[in-house]
Symmetry: C2
Subunit: 351 residues, 2 copies
């Protein structure tokens, strides 16, 4: 690995984006034992409900896991609101509940407290973090490291995709199968990284944009959320994510040709379910950038096609990468430093 030039704006973020295929390969080689060990202990407890708690970028990984749990494990799942157990002192009955905390740093006090209370209330608690030995890891019954390596840019990238892959492996271990050829991820990742010159060119289009809308459905909705967060924290623009369905229930009113729209339309159900949204966007004359299947990309103003035949459940790990690159290049064009956004620190302590 080339040592990044830390004085150049976004050097850390650029290096960490590029490292992702390597991080996934490491996780696939060295991370499975911890996942399988945790899965064995979870199966022994036969949970009936799954709750996930997380903040920021990790909350989008938790949302991806929620879809996997509902669709693949056939269990009802929810995203917990940490404040109910912290600020409001709620003590819910969590027997038969699997409570998963997801965090890069493992340090946010409200998540630590949620897992602590959850465990006392009968939940089986699991910490998925990039920081073994962190407070979240310590307080949970089971800990699974995502093995992304130290992340130094404030804008999280490799820890996000490593969280996604870890949660995918956990769900597959719980159902005792592995439906997708995960070993191909690093190669697919290299192909997606090669989109960078096209993304860098597209970034100039948004140099003066003040607001953007990002949309996706199903497994691709967490990608839309995370893409919007990257753009907000690195470019200081108002990037607003909606599920395709929610967009049609109200927020669509604010879309006109002056508001760029970014869509996530991979192969599979998520891309197909976005068809009515694309049709409505076309009627409105909206300016659309699409990351997704060749067919969807071909119809957009700016199309960024993913490699063909990527299984939908793995697609979120890959489809976020062009958005990370877009955030990086747009931030540089706008003269901000995505490694150190104003007003932010790497570890955010919320209570």
């Amino acid at each position: 690995m080339v040592q990044p030039e830390t004085t150049s704006p976004g050097a850390l973020m650029a290096a960490e984006i590029a490292e992702q295929p390597e991080a996934w390969a490491r996780l696939l080689a060295d991370g499975r034992a911890a996942v399988e060990d945790a899965a064995r202990q979870v199966r022994r407890r036969s949970p009936r409900f799954v709750l996930l708690v997380a903040r920021g970028t990790s909350d989008h990984a938790a949302l991806y896991a929620k879809y996997l749990v509902e669709v693949r494990l056939g269990l009802p799942a929810g995203l917990g609101s940490p404040s109910t157990m912290t600020a409001y002192g709620s003590r819910p009955d969590l027997r038969d509940v699997l409570l998963i905390g997801v965090s890069q740093s493992g340090g946010s006090p409200d998540l630590v407290r949620s897992l602590e209370v959850g465990r006392a209330q009968g939940a089986l608690t699991v910490a998925v973090t990039n920081s073994p030995g962190s407070p979240l890891d310590e307080v949970a019954e089971l800990g699974i490291p995502v093995l992304a390596g130290p992340e130094r840019s404030v804008a999280a990238t490799k820890s996000y995709t490593a969280e996604l892959l870890t949660l995918y492996l956990l769900v597959e271990a719980l159902r005792g199968t592995e439906a997708e050829p995960v070993h191909r991820l690093p190669d697919w990742g290299a192909e997606v990284l090669a989109l960078e010159p096209t993304v860098a060119g597209a970034a100039t289009r948004y140099r003066y944009a003040q607001r953007m809308v990002v949309t996706g459905r199903g497994y691709a909705y967490p990608t839309a959320r995370e893409a919007a967060l990257k753009l907000m924290e690195t470019c200081y623009l108002s990037a607003h994510a909606f599920s395709g369905a929610d967009l049609l229930h109200g927020p669509f009113a604010m879309i006109d040709p002056q508001v760029p729209v970014l869509t996530v339309a991979p192969e599979g159900v998520a891309g197909q379910a976005l068809a009515p949204v694309h049709a409505q966007l076309a009627r409105t004359g909206a300016d659309v950038l699409t990351v997704g299947s060749r067919a969807a990309a071909a119809q957009a103003t700016v199309g960024l096609a993913l490699p063909a035949n990527i299984p939908e459940a793995l697609s979120p790990i890959l489809e976020i990468v062009p958005f990370q690159q877009l955030a990086l290049h747009l931030a540089r064009l706008r003269g901000t430093n995505p490694d150190h956004p104003r007003n932010l620190h790497k570890v955010t302590e919320t209570h």
Copy 2:
């Protein structure tokens, strides 16, 4: 009731905002029997987990109910993603689950299908709608009408607060108590409506704003979400809601004195929990409008104080009202018609 002049922009929305105290009084007088009957049947089944499904404005009512269920019923709760059961064909094990669909029209096909599948998978299903006899009401085992009366403005107002109050009454009936003096709501509502001249004056401040950030925590977070949606759909601006905690995890980077911030800081835990956010906003020199307690309002650039001593659990029913008025007046100033936003219809059909 005075018949609104339907040709004046926002006449329907204005009338429906003003009708709210009357709608709450009607619900308190005529709606309790249906709530109590439903509560009896829910108690008989002793659910262990609560799922809520909804779209748009009703999704914010569902989020309020999620907090109530977690804090007051001590049950884990989640917001369902309808697409997992519709687009992905998931068939989760929903025994011991209470599945509540919330919808003004009761007509969205994906919600109807979610309740249909949920019922077949063992959930006890309840429809909370403003449309008895609607498809959602028909497909659910139990139906509770919110009795808001016909809502004609595309921007939902009175159906939202009636949904909040219905869900409050349901949770209180389930735990067999009623902690707050709900009978005072109509009077408090009249006091809040009287803020209108101040709100109308404040609206001029945002005449040319392109983007806004709205924030609240705990019970006040659904208010922030709904306020943002009203502003988006009526004023076509990018209004972005964050829980106070999530705001500090990334999006805070985009806030500077050019981005107006609206905060919801009622008396109680939700307002107290927002203190670190207010402190950070002050350091950033942000322009802040606050709806909430007298103390919080006094510290804002524009303060809209609610009546004193409103119990926190009821506060969301009241604190949304000034935001509805703000959306109405700002839309008029900007020359749009909030009764008929571009690109939207009253009933949105998503699949």
